[in-house]
Amino acid sequence: MNTLRTLFKNNIRQYGMIIALASIMILFQILTDGILLKPLNITNLIQQNSYILILAIGMLMVIITGNIDLSVGSVAAFVGAFSALLMVKMEVPFGIALVASLLIGAIVGAWHGFWIAYLKIPAFIVTLAGMLIFRGLTNAVLKGQSLGPFPEVFRGISTGFIPDYFGGGQIHVLSLVIGIIFSLFYVISELRDRKAKLKHNFEVIPKGFLIAKIVAIISIINLFTYVLATYKGIPNILVLLSLLVAIYTFITDKTVIGRHIYALGGNEKAAKLSGIKTQRVMFMVYVNMGILAALSGLVFAARLNSGTPQAGINFELDAIAAAYIGGASATGGVGTVIGAIIGGLVMGVMNNGMSLIGVGIQWQSVIKGLVLLIAVGFDVYTKSKSAS
């Protein structure tokens, strides 16, 4: 019981977020008479929020370093426009255009990173400038007009679904299979981790609790894939998102570079005196942000089927809010990828749910603002309490 309590205490923020997300989902499920969790709407939810979630992952790492990136919305728009120029106007093949677009993102990130990491210009100012510069360049590239349509294969990134080789008619069998494979994978990794911990005589959670946890997570995974399977199956974008979450969780949790990012945000001077190349780490974080902003821009362009001058407006604010709601600290050094994703989902579900029940757009904004304030306020409050 004691271990459970400490487990809960140590992860109160994480669990709190999951509980908050679940309650918001249940609330809107009731308010919308069950529309929220209909297969079609869940698919919509994923597709509508994917580009923000991609940004939120990169933004989280920027925020861990204690900085901010205000330019990502403009950069996403710019890369979307650039890709439209390549694919629509110049008819460059899809693969080459994709690589070129991500490369442009990396260069933009390097541009910001150079000013921030090496010339020590405050990130707020550098990326505010970037926000203006790349918004302007978007308009220049597009000459003020939308550019489309894209080739079918490109649109598929955002709007397509994984193919079903089993041809199961009403139900998308491959999606179900993936759910099962995923569950098996999860069980094996949990058991392996436990075994390694027991070998070193570390404390582990009680067996009963572990089983309950595994059962709960497996049910959620399979229920989720089942619901998707009853519509058109797993959207391509969900595969991409899951991959990104897995990769970035691994980087932040398990790798040396991940540690260096947290250390840099926690105390730059101490990190530097511990032999961490703080400038290079900061630079790389912005390059990474640039690539993810480019990816986000591509996904958004694919969804709209055109590069438009108005793309990406206020994306940066949603991404920043997602990271903060997900438990990142404004002073740096704290935050998780999963947290940022949950934060993004909280915002996404609220957007979607409020639209479904017909809350006016003006009130949606007010409510989202209050949620951000309360989430971070709760965070600060629990921290000050645990500190005393």
Partner: protein, 512 residues
């Protein structure tokens, strides 16, 4: 009315774990210059903070009598209203405001929140004339030098109708000419009946201007010397400052010293901002295997700057000189390289430069050598837990576990975490910068034991400290630093506190 303008009687002030002031008495006569001397940490600044109300009435015991009346200050404002003004070592001026604005900050001439600039400027001009500063009242603080800034502080004090002026190390950042000006100004004020308390390490200045001297040591009043009555020499003052007995405060050690492992030759470093100011002046030193070498000197003598400039050029500009390890020249341009060459630097400022306070013990210990617990840049967390646990036991870090955040540890345990981090990096040469600052006596002993153990394992240790007893108790050989130079080298046998102090102070007097 008594002859004393200020009497502080039986002042006691306790911080968690430390008795900072123990029954301290201080009496300052009307219109005299009273010097307050003592080693770093003797309690001088704490006493002045009690006097000025930084530590409000109730947080200390004892009485403060100003002009014979008992005072119970709740904040600085109240003490200032009576004319007690303190000028801190670190100047409290706002760089991008003008001299006039700074002088009357919080005390503005004007009505209903609207400033009367004409009165402000004329009043400032007259104050500046009084302190002998020829600058326009509109000049921004950032555009004048430190010496002039000091004068602005004094002008600010005058604007508050000062009766008792307290100066905390006023000349530590000044050159000789500016220092002389300042001291002459104090003598001027004396004629006008303003009493001053002068806190200073520079005993030559003290003997020049002070009428009486109170010596503090370890939070106690040792003596008050009357400069007029007795012939007080600097040696006499030094004796009062350091004269304490050493009994078993340091663990025993049988030094086993080998060949020279690390050498610094012709090392010069300039200030990182003012690139024409030399901070480290042609330093040569060496350390042998298994040896503990001390660097004594006052704060600000350049010890930290020396250590950090060696450690991957973490401080300074225009660094020149050569470094040798085991006879071979090495180039340490980054911290990363310094660590790879087997150097470690334990900072004097563990909170700002040593620890990631929001991270746990485990993550802090492995930070400087993550490669040791990683395969292909992936951290093996289980191994990390085992390693961190090993160090927690070895260093006797008192915590709920290795997952406890370092921000919640006591100073001594934080220091042990920083030490663990650097021992974990497997260095050959450890530079320890004030490793026992702000730590209670028990933890100090533990840290000394760890240091001795490291030396016994054959590591070379450079031990920087302001506490002379500690230097004498721990080191096999001692370099004395003053104003960026090494002014003396003493073996364990010949070293005494008086000798070290002489090396420290001789240079400041300009006699080598």
């Amino acid at each position: 009315m008594s002859e004393y303008i200020l009497e502080m009687q039986s002042i006691n002030k306790v911080f968690p774990g430390v008795k900072a002031l123990d029954n301290v008495n201080l009496k300052v006569k009307e219109g005299e210059i009273h010097a307050l001397v003592g080693e770093n940490g003797a309690g001088k600044s704490t006493l002045m903070k009690v006097l000025s109300g930084v530590y409000p009435h109730g947080t200390y015991t004892g009485d403060i009598l100003f002009k014979g009346e008992v005072c119970k200050f709740k904040d600085i404002k109240q003490s200032e209203n009576l004319g007690i003004v303190i000028i801190h070592q670190e100047l409290a001026l706002i760089p991008y405001l003008s001299i006039a604005e700074n002088i009357f900050l919080g005390n503005e001439h004007g009505k209903n929140g609207i400033i009367d600039w004409n009165t402000t400027i004329t009043h400032t001009a007259s104050l500046l004339k009084k302190v002998g500063l020829r600058e326009a009242p509109n000049t921004l603080i950032t555009n004048i030098g430190v010496g002039k800034q000091q004068l602005v502080e004094i002008a600010k004090a005058l604007s508050k109708k000062v009766k008792l002026l307290i100066l905390d190390e006023p000349t530590s950042a000044l050159n000789e000419e500016d220092s002389d000006n300042l001291l002459n100004l104090l003598l001027e004020f004396k004629k006008e009946g303003i009493a001053s308390i002068l806190i200073s390490h520079k005993l030559n200045e003290v003997s020049k201007v002070a009428d009486s001297i109170t010596v503090l040591r370890d939070g106690k009043t040792i003596e008050t010397l009357d400069m007029k009555k007795d012939q007080i020499t600097e040696d006499r003052i030094i004796k009062g400052m350091v004269g304490r007995e050493l009994v078993n405060r340091f663990p025993k050690r049988e030094p086993n010293i080998g060949d020279v492992t690390f050498e610094v030759k012709d090392w010069n470093v300039y200030h990182h901002l003012h690139k024409d100011r030399k901070i480290i002046d042609n330093i040569n030193l060496n350390i042998k295997k298994g040896e503990i070498v001390g660097i004594a000197g006052l704060m600000g003598s350049g010890r930290t700057e020396l250590a950090m400039s060696i450690f991957g050029k973490s401080y300074g500009a225009k660094i020149s000189g050569r470094l040798y390890k085991d006879g071979k020249e090495i180039h340490l341009n980054t911290v990363d390289k310094a660590i790879k060459h087997g150097l470690a630097y334990v900072t004097e400022d563990r909170k700002n430069y040593g620890l990631i306070l929001i991270d746990n013990i485990k993550r802090n210990i492995t930070l400087a050598n993550l490669d040791k617990v990683s395969d292909n840049l992936v951290v093996n967390e289980n191994q990390e837990v085992l390693d961190a646990e090993e160090y927690r036991k070895k260093m006797n870090i008192k915590a709920s576990g290795i997952l406890q955040k370092t921000v919640n540890l006591s100073g001594g345990n934080q220091q042990k975490v920083v030490l663990s981090k650097w021992v974990y990096s497997e260095p050959d040469i450890l530079i320890l910068d004030e490793p026992t600052r702000g730590i209670d006596v028990g933890a100090k002993y533990e840290i000394y034991t760890i240091i001795n153990q490291l030396a016994a394992e054959g590591k070379s240790i450079l031990f920087i400290s302001s506490e002379l007893p500690e230097i004498l108790g721990m080191c096999d050989r001692i370099y004395v630093m003053s104003e960026g130079k090494i002014t003396g080298e003493l073996s364990r046998e010949e070293a005494t506190q008086e000798k070290i102090m002489k090396y420290v102070i001789n240079l400041q007097r300009g006699v080598e």
